[in-house]
Symmetry: C2
Subunit: 461 residues, 2 copies
Amino acid sequence: MVKPTYGFVTEDNMCLLTDLYELTMADSYFRRGKNQLTTFDLFVRSMPEHRNFLVSAGIEQILFYLERLHFSKECIDYLRSLKLFSSEFLEFLKDFRFSGEVYVIPEGEIYFPREPVVRITAPRIEAQIIETFLLNTFNFQSAIASKAARVVIAAQGRGVVDFSPRRDHGSDAALKVARASYIAGCIGTSCTLAGMIYGIPVYGTMAHSYVMSFPTELDAFRAFVEDFPNNSILLIDTYETLQGARHAVIVAKEMEKRGQRLRGVRLDSGDIAELSKQVRKILDDAGLKYVKILASGDLNEYKIKDLLEKKAPIDFFGVGTEMGVSKDAPALGGVYKLSEDDRGPRIKLSSGKVTLPGKKQVYRVIKNGKMVKDIITLEDEKPEEKEVYPLLIKVMEKGKIIEELPSLKKIQEKFMERLDMLPDELKEIEELKEYPVEIGKELSALTEKLIAEYYKLEMSI
Amino acid sequence: MVKPTYGFVTEDNMCLLTDLYELTMADSYFRRGKNQLTTFDLFVRSMPEHRNFLVSAGIEQILFYLERLHFSKECIDYLRSLKLFSSEFLEFLKDFRFSGEVYVIPEGEIYFPREPVVRITAPRIEAQIIETFLLNTFNFQSAIASKAARVVIAAQGRGVVDFSPRRDHGSDAALKVARASYIAGCIGTSCTLAGMIYGIPVYGTMAHSYVMSFPTELDAFRAFVEDFPNNSILLIDTYETLQGARHAVIVAKEMEKRGQRLRGVRLDSGDIAELSKQVRKILDDAGLKYVKILASGDLNEYKIKDLLEKKAPIDFFGVGTEMGVSKDAPALGGVYKLSEDDRGPRIKLSSGKVTLPGKKQVYRVIKNGKMVKDIITLEDEKPEEKEVYPLLIKVMEKGKIIEELPSLKKIQEKFMERLDMLPDELKEIEELKEYPVEIGKELSALTEKLIAEYYKLEMSI
């Protein structure tokens, strides 16, 4: 009988969460002693559809991986069973550890295409083996943080809660959506496990099935507030929304007599703009101005913008599917490319996919508290502008974290500060605008020199 | 200093991979002794965009969860810290186990909207608590299997390999994409861990960075085939594809002298249709008809169809991002709804989201080996048609698996058989066709009766 398997990723098997070719290439490098120091950049080639800026997220998980990456006996035994690898390489993997240096654009920072977000300098085998996991970890969280930022912008200061677990791409995705959307300014998540693991505030209301399990809606509301007097948000659309609002009023008034306050009501269907106004009026007329309105039901940044333009009096938004899968741009195309090895700075030119050579830094130019432009430079190159700050920070040396990691709350605060610095036109959710990212003079000169050498070489082939 | 956390989901914390409200509702049911037997259906409301049929996948992970679901001390302590739950409920969770009965449409089976894919009968608290995890598990794997099936159909028998890990939504998603796409007929994956955990064949080629790490392309090819004489697929587009093909010929001829055979070459950029023809000719002219051509690079079912219409001589396709995130339909909207409780069959009517009441079965009518229509019936209702088979199979009783679980290979075989039975027009990837799903007479009558009762009730409110 086949035993059911869930397939959990663990600290002991994450080494194999990689494309097979990373390991075969590593074996080949190992056999040939090709293990010189290399530098690789993780960056996004071009802006995804419907995005004006990107948000760094997933760095903490990358650092966790790099600090703890090892090949357990089970994993090495599996690799051996493939009859692909040299026994010397498998032996080498037993003591494998990542020993490199890592620069990152920290989580919560805004970044743009072509800018290295993670810069790895390590012996070639180490730098190669980590590629897939780094991309898997960064691409997804950054995609979600960048999507959630748009939802948060659209909500104009009203709280946004992640309601996505049932539609996310598996269990790890549910945790990472909660984390990445919190970084981008969401106030919490419905994902209880994300609350336990990351300390993210957890939120919940009630389902239609709860209301339906009682003889009447009023019975259901009374029962729920009796059980959760401080935290009840009543779902009022199971039968008829306005009637539901009137039932909520009855219950809220009963609570007041007990010295309690109903926290809110939730709308999940129908014409939310219109219903929210009518519900607000019903609540206000009953002297329940403190009772909040939460809206949910296939929301996204466009619908939220529309609701607020219609002056819908909504205090909180529960956003699920569209944010959890970043529906309008479900994959971020981050890549990981060699920029330098023992022969010096390297460049890749195939099919218009030009990479920037050498160890690089990214500077952001600020004027009057607003971002003006970014400049990608060589590491030692200094931009001419004065009010600049470097985006790439060294966080790991010899495989150990050297920079104190910020708490998730601090990361969120950083993002909110950055959002204040972002030019207003980039905050538009329906119009695409391009933020200027320049290439520094020295980096430009080096790139041109390597392109010229490349074409000379090609002509000589 | 904040310790870096990855956030692994484990057997001990999966109980909290749930929306918070499942647990607050459960507490309320517990306090009120509302724990009668209920039946819930997991089903998809309507066909996602760009899909003609859906493939069941993720059932094994659901059964794993149901058999092992428990609340560890750490999880109960976290719930206590929220100051939301009654101490009696937290005490109850210590010994919580799922004790219900489960029917499923097995993995690899084709299904359609409105058909219950998972039917749970359990005490209300158990049935409620599992909702989010079941949806998270099924929605994603079924979305991917349904997408991958289209890619497999487009490839017309040529092998399709999952190349998606770097773009999937986290680590769990990488494993589940490998598994679900294998169910739908892919021949393997690049995800090494999916090979170890699920026994899926793993595939790999080489990266541009490998070729670039050698002085010349020829050096790189010679090194790789020396290290992997039986499994080398050479990436020939790093510099110039046709030159790359000629280098591959040189290496293949050298291998022949050693009694070895080059397995294949890979194209990853440019005009793949045209290049594959030219590369095939170069290989054939050198007597290397056995050397296969693998194509990759942002492929999807539409591009594969186009390549094969242009008669591109491609033997294998490596498909990544678009399959791994199901780009054109990144979320499957499966829901989980009450269909029966101690008061009898139940129905939900709000906002046109009508559910089907009662314990149900689904029958498939077959004629001349082809699917003709499906009929959703009440459990004890027999359809008039003769050549039918039931889709829902009982797999769990009293919380224990009773049906032998099929191996992944067997699931894949089942899907390939079902694909043969699928009407040809549903296999079209560019045209949308609707397969007939009928409601059985008795189920129709019951539904109408409950609707009538509902409106009578509503008018009396």
